[in-house]
């Protein structure tokens, strides 16, 4: 079983397909869960705390806005743990404020920097493309399973 980073990290379809074919999808929910299940001192206890922006320094320079660094404290450890990645490039809903946009760019960069196998896709627009989309993911995950 390989750890597979998915982008968009909140994607239902990618998360389901990776788990369905026997691997572990690394999505943002895992980081959020870890955050909210950790006891500590904070008020109010939300996902991102000032401490997270400091952790994000590992992935982005100090002059990068804290919004990007805070987000990277969620995504950075997932990218580090990934043994493969599936990226859907035309996910318009990943659009957001500048913090989200720059974080998305940094995520793509870091994933490619790691040199792990990456499957680049677009969302299918019809049933035929859906068949090929699912088959490509299965084939990618099968090869990942052999090497993991």
């Amino acid at each position: 079983m390989a750890n597979v980073f998915i982008y968009p990290a909140t994607s239902l379809i990618l998360s389901d397909l990776v788990a369905r074919f026997g691997h572990k999808p690394l999505g943002s929910a895992l980081s959020v869960r870890e955050h909210i299940q950790t006891a500590g001192f904070d008020s109010p206890p939300l996902q991102i705390t000032p401490e997270d922006a400091k952790k994000g320094l590992k992935y982005a320079a100090v002059e990068v806005p804290s919004g990007v660094r805070g987000r990277m404290s969620l995504y950075g450890p997932l990218i580090e743990a990934a043994e493969g990645a599936i990226i859907v490039n035309d996910a318009d809903y990943a659009f957001g404020c500048m913090g989200c946009a720059r974080t998305n760019e940094l995520i793509m960069f870091l994933v490619r920097q790691r040199g792990i196998p990456v499957l680049d896709l677009n969302y299918p627009a019809n049933e035929k493309e859906g068949e090929e989309f699912v088959a490509a993911i299965k084939s990618f995950l099968d090869t990942l399973g052999e090497t993991a």
Binding site: L12, S15, D16, P25, P44, P124, E129, E132
Partner: protein, 153 residues
Amino acid sequence: MKEYQPKYVGTVTKYVFIESPEMTPTDFAIKAYEVSDGVMIKETCFGLQITGMPDEVDRVLERIRSFDPEHVFVKDRGFPPGDERRCRANLGGARPGYFGHEYEVNYVIRSISHGLSALKAREPGTEADPPSPVKKTYLDTTSLKKIIERMEP
């Protein structure tokens, strides 16, 4: 600053999205309750949320998936159901989020269900030809010029 004591430590929460043409979320909820054994199950308009220890949740999910494997989709959720930071009951109205799920469930998931059904009949070893951003070709200037020339009287 105040001390934060998390609830449901060690548990996982999973979203179950149901796109089945034959069964409703209520049907799935009843099936899930049959094997719940202490797992917290919340029925929603789109499916279920299941919270419990990882092994127990996996057992319930396996049972639910078995009824309609191609139309049941599962993903992780960070917050447990009813968490006061995210639950709309505490936020005074509709909660933000779900944009991604809305897009995928409305526009993509039927193609995926079809793809999963077709996967069984697929010849082993057939190379996939998925929609890829690399293959996307844009209109080149030569073609554009030809179009313009064709349009001119």
